[in-house]
């Protein structure tokens, strides 16, 4: 029986072991080559996870994030984003990180009587990005306006 706790110096691998290990090696190495390449297909260019594009943290955002919701009775309310979620999530929102923007808008739609939610990122030297989600519909609609300030 193989004793998994302590092994003697490893013996030269048998042909069967080489074959099985080889299959694992091929799969593991292929995955490592393919995963960074998925960056080229990502809809969100700010999502640099698993790509080795950088070893540093992403640059701090220079955008001002605001959010509002519209109720079924037509009333509009401003949302204080930083009072609802942790500051790191606010930073993600202001960096236009799509997964976080989508989750945030969906979360606001869970409140009672909400018809539509909007999130706007006004950035220094960049276009203003607005995300609208009509509650109950699918993915938020994104619009970009240049020099909207």
């Amino acid at each position: 029986m193989a004793y998994s706790e302590t092994e003697p110096p490893p013996a030269p691998p048998s042909a069967k072991t080489r074959h099985r290990s080889g299959a694992f090696i091929a799969a593991f190495v292929s995955l490592q080559f393919l995963i960074p390449l998925t960056y080229l297909l990502r809809a969100d260019p700010t999502d640099e996870r698993f790509t080795w594009r950088t070893f540093t943290a992403s640059a701090p955002p220079s955008c001002e994030t605001s959010a509002s919701l519209e109720r079924f009775d037509g009333q509009r309310e401003a949302i204080s984003v930083s009072k609802l979620i942790q500051q790191d999530w606010v930073d993600y929102l202001s960096q236009d990180r799509r997964a976080v923007v989508d989750a945030f808008l969906q979360k606001q739609c869970e409140s009672k009587g909400v018809l539509q939610v909007q999130l706007v990122n006004r950035c220094e030297g960049r276009s203003t990005h607005a995300y609208d989600l009509r509650c109950g519909s699918g993915r938020p609609h994104e619009t970009a306006r240049t020099a909207a300030r």
Partner: protein, 375 residues
């Protein structure tokens, strides 16, 4: 063997996988306790979370859950670094660590993903004892360790992509590319049939060391990568001599007789080990961070699982050493918490966040604790 098979299954000085496994596990434990735990108060705030993978999105990790996972992973990792690692324990460390970062985008540090890849490689490392890796002779024992070669290739792929993205952005890429080639070649340096490579490989180690000293990096990336480069690129004789020196106390302490069968010590060892498993997590009661007690208790349960029937049927002191390593890891966690700013940073962060959200009760609670642990 075909050339490709010779690359993966050729000989490696056993001192390298032995030291690499222990170095990364020990560093991982302190990295978790000093760099990740202070961030724990961010988790679960406002019931909002986005995971790294969509299938984890339904789960919102609380602060206590996150801290528990970190305590579990850190203590188990250090206990494995202190005494003979066990494959099941390494699987648990890999799972715990990966769950720790994967459960939330709050942890998007690039090298945490790399460490998970390393931990997967470690699962297939030979679980060498100090006696097996450092024989009494001065000659370094060698053996076929494909997982070590996979570790080196994994590192090479990282540098390859660093170089490729740099080239794509019109930046200098020769240094990360040199690191990539260095790792691909250094994994073969211990083979008797390649004496020229043995001479040149240590020189190639300058590339990763220079890269990590010159390029700004997040967290402890440089510490990990420079340490790994030293173990991978240094001449086998040096690594063997370092390992022999470091393991001398362990080798003399855990010297075991070769005869098999149970003896009269077995019962005493069983009760002592069991007592140790119960007592070790008690240390965590003095740490005063949410989830840590549960995390340490789970580590003791995991250790029981790891030892299994060996706890009673192993005739020698091995179970006791294993429990001692768990006790040492729990003690190290406690000392680290007492000597560092981890608790202060955790509660201060929680206080600031609660104040921002106008949650005055939580802010007061966090504030009191932050004052208690203020440096």
């Amino acid at each position: 063997m075909k050339p490709v098979q010779r690359y993966w299954f050729g000989d490696v000085a056993l001192a390298r996988p032995y030291l690499l496994l222990r170095f990364v596990l020990a560093l991982l434990a302190f990295d978790i306790w000093l760099n990740l735990m202070p961030q724990g108060a961010k988790y679960g705030v406002g019931g909002f979370n986005v995971a790294h993978f969509a299938w984890l999105d339904a789960f919102i990790p609380s602060s206590a859950f996150y801290m528990g996972v970190l305590a579990f992973t850190g203590v188990l990792a250090l206990s494995q670094a202190l005494y003979r690692p066990h494959r099941i324990a390494i699987i648990l460390v890999a799972a715990g660590y990966t769950l720790g970062w994967a459960c939330s985008l709050l942890d998007s540090v690039p090298y945490h993903y790399l460490l998970s890849l390393y931990l997967v490689c470690f699962v297939f490392f030979p679980m060498l004892s100090a006696h097996a890796a450092f024989s009494r002779s001065a000659r370094a024992p060698r053996g076929s360790v494909w997982a070590y070669v996979l570790f080196c290739v994994t590192t090479a792929i990282v540098y390859f992509y660093v170089a490729a993205w740099s080239a794509a952005q019109g930046r200098s890429y020769w240094l990360p590319m040199a690191c990539c080639f260095g790792y691909l070649l250094a994994s073969m340096q211990d083979r008797a049939e390649l004496p020229a490579l043995r001479m040149t490989a240590p020189l190639l180690g300058a590339a990763p060391i220079a890269f990590h000293l010159l390029t700004p990096q997040q967290g402890w990336t440089s510490v990990y990568m420079i340490g790994i480069a030293l173990v991978v690129f240094a001449p086998a004789g040096w690594v063997h001599a370092l390992g022999r020196t470091l393991t001398r106390p362990t080798r003399s302490l855990t010297e075991e007789r070769t005869e098999g069968g149970t003896d009269e010590r077995a019962t005493q060892v069983f009760y002592l080990s069991l007592l140790g498993l119960v007592v070790a997590p008690i240390v965590s009661m003095f740490i005063d961070l949410p989830g840590v007690k549960t995390g340490c208790t789970l580590t003791a349960i995991a250790m029981l699982l790891v030892m299994g029937r060996q706890l009673y049927f192993t005739p020698r002191w091995r179970p006791l050493w294993r429990v001692t390593s768990l006790f040492g890891a729990c003690l190290a966690l406690w000392i680290t918490m007492a000597a560092s700013h981890t608790r202060f940073d955790y509660y201060r962060q929680g206080q600031l966040d609660a104040s921002r959200r106008d949650d005055h009760d939580a802010a007061m609670m966090f504030g009191e604790k932050a004052d208690r642990y203020a440096p």
